[in-house]
Symmetry: C2
Amino acid sequence: MKEINIGLAGFGTVGQALYKVIEQARNVHARIAKICVRSLTKPREIRVPESLLTISFTEITRNPDIDLVVEVIDDPETSFRLVSDALRNGKDVVSGNKAMLARHLPELMELQRQTGKALLYDASSCGSIPVIRNLEEYYDNDLLLEVKGILNGSSNYILSRVFDHNEDYADALERAQKLGFAESDPSHDISGNDSLNKLVIITLHAIGVYVAPADVFVYGIPTLGQEDILYAREKGMKIKLVAQVVKLSDDLFTMFVMPEFVAPNRYIYAVDDEYNGVVIRGECYDRQFMFGKGAGGLPTASSLLSDITALRHDYRYEYKKTAFAPRPEYTTDIPLKIYARFSQTNLLDGLPWLAVSEEYRSESFRYVVGEILLADLIKSRKLLEAEDVFLCNFPRFFTERDD
Amino acid sequence: MKEINIGLAGFGTVGQALYKVIEQARNVHARIAKICVRSLTKPREIRVPESLLTISFTEITRNPDIDLVVEVIDDPETSFRLVSDALRNGKDVVSGNKAMLARHLPELMELQRQTGKALLYDASSCGSIPVIRNLEEYYDNDLLLEVKGILNGSSNYILSRVFDHNEDYADALERAQKLGFAESDPSHDISGNDSLNKLVIITLHAIGVYVAPADVFVYGIPTLGQEDILYAREKGMKIKLVAQVVKLSDDLFTMFVMPEFVAPNRYIYAVDDEYNGVVIRGECYDRQFMFGKGAGGLPTASSLLSDITALRHDYRYEYKKTAFAPRPEYTTDIPLKIYARFSQTNLLDGLPWLAVSEEYRSESFRYVVGEILLADLIKSRKLLEAEDVFLCNFPRFFTERDD
């Protein structure tokens, strides 16, 4: 088998891990021939010959000696320019950049079609868990009903420290940052935006529809408070940050990212620390649960490696479900059952509740449990961003089945 | 997309479920054009036009109108003749027959090579969990260290009734048979032979080596007794029937099927009832856990459907790992730590223990915990089949990592 030459863009934690993994996996017959970095002189754990490094990405994307480009840089817009340039210059590409992909997938699908080159990105969602590949290849029919999961390791680590180890939220957050679970911008993890990016990618492969991140309701855990933790504990539940896409009928589906009360009988209850877990539910196969390390250098690198070898065998995503008929449409016109906690901001009067089933008021805070349209949560985004507010979803309101 | 015509061999639980699933999954563009059955007049849940039925398998395998053969019959030797005939007559084939595959994989690999036609069989191992496809495509490098799991739903159901629901073993067995979890020959499930067949298939795709079932140590749960259940319970463990293939080094791997003591911190501890669960461990990606319904008509049918659509996209197993160098060799020359319970049969003197760490004797039974070579267990098969004997493996003896 001919050895292939990889051009690697980005040499941080993941890039260096890939370097190690490729050295270890003998039967891959690949070598890293060029590495594009931001700084030639920055000290790194792995020492490579200076001749391998470049600061110009076109030395990778337009280099005739490079067969394949692997992109693991931070900045989404640089990443998009780099990936596009590589495809246009006849390179297959592997990317792990979920923020870039979530924003640019439609253009990148079109660019793959035009150039005939392939872009793979299984590492972008759930690190080492092969979610995209399985949705694309194995669950490639319209029996799929739901994909629901914990897609962000850092926020799950924080929640796990709080609910499984009784730590303070603030301590847990600090510890997660120290351990380096967080992205370069840690606010992405706890805001839910990282989960949202992955959900957008997953939805394209699960349902065949691209929905822009800006159109999806996302609510994170920055304002999670002791009151909310106690509320969940009293009911024997944990709070998890859950991303979900759910087919409501043949014609409609919905998706959102929100904290959710999780009871012990659910698979994702046991997904602790920095792990990710995804439940795939279908009409005939019931539920499948996939579980593994969602982040970290080596797990992500091993996922990149799987994409690299897949390209060697001319694999490409065919986005088959985008051609399905009927293909369901995205809706936010569904009622959710929500717990809303607040103090100054009056969410009881400030939100268009369809029904209120619980009201609680103490000297320091209030909460409401009630039904509200997802569309109205989106309209009320500004209000819900207040520091004294926290929202949490009750699952299984619009579906009777377990997950 | 052109509709493809499927020739279906076998119209029992799985065959009928596939019929339903194909009707339900609109974007598959396939129809069942002919069904080979043993009896034309047997009453069935699903009524199909008489013209669809035949009792001659060549009406499927040699029928020019048939594009694809799906085989879900019981008898392994008929299945092998049918599958071979179909491949030779230019049909792609999907099979769910693990006993046939475990016995005939080398010939069937060769036949695929000769004919250029493809044989897919993801439904044969773990029903709806895409184990084979992921081992072949995603974990397609030599970083994989171990595949370990609960591969048989009926025996797991029985053990789950005993350990999770405090039922008597005899009651649990009876209930499993009533619920129809068992294969047409239920002894296959509790003897471990069904798990063994799946392990043989999995090993080919995990390590790239075919090992005949007869060369692998298999020990089941027919002789599990109240003493053993109590022993496990006292130590806070469950007994599970575990199939495993483990890379010991770059040069060696081992495999076996045995009851195993499972502590609560392990993933497979939570695999209850008729579910299957598989842990895949690798050098870089740590552990992945896949969980789902391992048996039953619809889950198996949905897996067959995934293989059918994969064939539409010209997918075939490439058995890449069979070409890996170095490729580890199968060994049974490894010490296991074993619990052996007996009464008349004297296993203390009758087995070549390397070391004995515990001995217990009461009026009604005895047990020994000690180290013994797997090769010596194979040599002592006859002795270990005695009705007063039960063996159970202590995990993590030759590997320090969790599973």
